[in-house]
Symmetry: C2
Subunit: 158 residues, 2 copies
Amino acid sequence: MSENLAPDSSLQQQMETFEETCRTADLKLTHQRLEIYRELARATDHPSAETLHTRLQKSLPTLSLDTVYRTLATFEQHHLVKKVQTVDSQAHFEAQMSQHHHVICDSCKEIMDFHWNSFDSTPLPEDLRQWGAIRNKNVTIHGTCRKCQDVKAGKKPA
Amino acid sequence: MSENLAPDSSLQQQMETFEETCRTADLKLTHQRLEIYRELARATDHPSAETLHTRLQKSLPTLSLDTVYRTLATFEQHHLVKKVQTVDSQAHFEAQMSQHHHVICDSCKEIMDFHWNSFDSTPLPEDLRQWGAIRNKNVTIHGTCRKCQDVKAGKKPA
DNA sequence: TTCTCGGTAAGAATTATTCTTATTTGCATA
DNA sequence: TATGCAAATAAGAATAATTCTTACCGAGAA
């Protein structure tokens, strides 16, 4: 529970940007929206709507799951959050909007961010140029994380 | 309908490999499995289970949607097909197993394959090496395809 | 040809997500 | 500070995608 948290200093900043964006977009700053966004911004584990809802039970005991879904959809339309592409049945979300990529452990399903500047600045292959207007390019890596490898090998966790 | 088809010569080959894999894996070669696989191998548009089911109505009028789902899941376990990562609610499938990447049009949702050898042979960033065992890396590109751009601009289709 | 077990169809069940409706709340204005 | 109203919410019903249950069937071995 103490894992999966982003540093506090930047969270402050991020909340201000969030509030600013809402005001500009005529989105009312409700308690629910603030808490849902804060919870997602704090998380580093790309939670599902259901997971967020569970985590928010303490601070918002009457929050409905529907509100989480609806709110995330609204945020997504306003480019405040992103839906992460997976093969899971449940959708996963992130508030991290800057350019990054994902590594997914096929065993424990954990999704991690990573950066790859040299890739980001590499031009696309020639024949893609004529496909249309490209908005973004992202790398997804699949494999087995160290933790799951160790479990398979019968090692004790550190 | 005449679009979205792979060349016939390689399909023949692919069916043989498919049958061989089934025999080796002790999967019975049922009429349904053969037709479902053939239909997916022929397609180049990454259809959903439901789309496949619809396309197969002619050749297999009694085929149940459940069988399509179950069969695709079986094929996936045996690495005969892949589920394509999208943010869609419906899952999309492909029989193309060789290394390739995807461009997705956010407007018409069309998924296209492309190849990028120089990317495939580029080593991953250093800090990822210690993450665990990496199985594959793939690029997904989002944007608006030429066709949809033209529609927006009010142009007639060619 | 017969036997056996995995595969299939049909419909019920489950899971994830969205809609409907009545109520509440943010916030602009008096 | 009080008031009005559109937007947002909660609760439960509804829908969509996928999976399970059960009884029957057919592929392939003997």
